[in-house]
Amino acid sequence: MWRGNAWPATLLIAGMVVYGLFVSLSMTTWNDYSRLASDAVFLESIGISLYVALSSTVLSVLVGAILADYFARRTGFTEQLLALPLFIPHLGAAYLSILYLSDLPVIGPHEANHLSIILTYLYKEVPFVFFYLLPVYRRLDHRYEELGLMLGLSRMRRFWHGKGVFLLFPVLEAAFIVFAFTLFAYEVPALLGVTYPKMIGVYAFDLYTQGDLSSQPAAFAISVVLTVSLLVVLLTFTRFVRPLTERISKGRAE
């Protein structure tokens, strides 16, 4: 009994998620989905959201990983500086963007390229990825790479077998979290985005809260489609990457 109890947490979370999903589902009909598929506004919104989410994810994971690699080999306190943005809520980061980037061309707010949004996300997510990956990099056993070197492996293969496999799962996980977050967020795109096309979080939320009752099914449909899509991605990811990571965690030197 001292081993803790995960039931309250699981029931609360899974309960709310599943309920939210089912209720949304029950408020829609097949019609809504087919209409959605041909809705140009919706599709454009998805397009721009994917663009912003992918760019933010790729950039923040890349920079975060490089920083984690750099600081993993050193001791000291410089890296604590990177913790500061974690304390700043996203709204605060948006404020900073408004403060500094307004009136600037290209990277200012309300631009079609959405660079201000991406930069805001970078400010918050690079530290997140960094602190997520830092312990992973610290745990790496460099002797695997040394072995790769002595066995005469090419640079690519040496990186992969000696380091890459150990980093794969954590990096993908961090990327997935950042991606999901940036894809659906409301606050930052609402403040820094353009009126058309809106990012999907803004579009759906406004549809639900500001539209009349007739637009509600559309909002529910969007919610269902996106949730299910990501669930599918999550399950595929788990199914395929899990066995590999199990082997790694059981077979690596402590």
């Binding site: 001292w2 081993r3 803790g4 109890n5 995960a6 039931w7 309250p8 947490a9 699981t10 609360l12 979370i13 899974a14 709310m16 998620v17 309920y19 939210g20 089912f22 209720v23 949304s24 408020m27 750099y70 050193r74 410089t78 500086l81 990177l82 500061l84 974690l86 304390f87 700043i88 809520p89 996203h90 709204l91 605060g92 404020y95 900073l96 408004i98 403060l99 500094y100 400010y123 530290p127 312990p135 997935f176 979290i177 999901a180 659906f184 409301y186 606050e187 609402a190 403040l191 979080g201 759906a204 639900y208 809260t209 529910f220 969007i222 919610s223 949730t227 990501l230 669930l231 999550l234």
Partner: protein, 260 residues
């Protein structure tokens, strides 16, 4: 890359922008002030629930094995990967049926979604670092779970505890859309008043709102820090103060009492 170059880059990109948050003037925005009570109560409640539920769950994930616990771990992580705001559309209807819509409790429950997964992760890592053997050792030394937490587990896990409080307060404070929706505008938290200021004309007002949003977690963090150091000191005093005559002598000396 040279360390100084890296350091200056970091300072330039991360620390310097924060200068924009330093206030030059200060006004107490009455609308913001109104929301403070509800906000603080809500934050306290969310944090407490996170600790209670997350501690147990983190422990379970760290120390139990089996397919069930793996499944539960996955379910718990769901909000990290799924659109919580969108799911709340459906939740709002359910809350209406349950009478939780526009209620404190309704918002409280929903705020668990973006916070619990992180909390549980932090606790899981903390417990794994502690190790199963250490836990077994502690159980043998102090079977009573409350005493055990007070004297042993709590102090040993205090960095996890502190991280959780910090993270939960930051995340919960910054939720605008979720609170606006589920709270229906009735449960007024600070983010609700702050958000419109960002789209408004006054950058100063926006700055002040931001300061609130940043200051509150920091304040809570420092209060927590003091609570923890007193806790540890209390534990130490309870464990070796009473029975050690030499220590008592020191205490007497401090107070100016001498033997003769």
């Amino acid at each position: 890359m040279r360390p100084t170059l890296v350091k200056s880059l970091l300072i330039g990109l991360i620390v310097l922008p924060l200068i924009g948050v330093i206030p030059t003037t200060w006004t107490w925005n009455p609308r913001l002030l109104d929301t403070v009570t509800t906000t603080v109560l809500m934050i306290a409640a969310v944090t407490l629930l996170n600790h209670l539920v997350g501690y147990a769950a983190g422990k379970a994930i760290a120390f139990r094995t089996g397919r069930l616990i793996r499944l539960m771990e996955l379910l718990i992580s769901l909000p990290l990967f799924l659109p919580v705001l969108l799911l709340s559309f459906g939740l709002y209807l359910t809350w209406i049926r349950l009478g939780l819509a526009d209620q404190f409790l309704g918002v409280l429950l929903v705020l668990l979604l973006p916070t619990l997964p992180y909390t549980i992760r932090i606790y899981t890592n903390g417990f794994q670092a502690l190790g199963e053997q250490m836990m077994e050792q502690m159980i043998l030394i102090q079977p009573n779970r409350f005493k055990r937490f007070f004297f042993l587990t709590g102090p040993m896990m205090r960095s996890s505890l502190q991280s959780v409080t910090l993270l939960v307060t930051v995340i919960a404070l910054s939720q605008y859309a979720l609170v606006a929706l589920i709270g229906g505008g009735v449960v007024r938290m600070i983010a609700l008043e702050a958000f419109p200021l960002y789209t408004g004309n006054s950058l100063v007002a926006a700055k002040e709102a931001t300061i609130w949003l940043i200051a509150l977690p920091f304040l809570i963090y420092f209060v927590q820090l003091m609570v923890f150091s007193s806790w540890v000191r209390l534990v130490r005093r309870l464990l070796d103060g009473r029975n050690d005559p030499a220590r008592n002598e020191d205490i007497w000396k401090e107070k100016g009492v001498t033997r003769d």
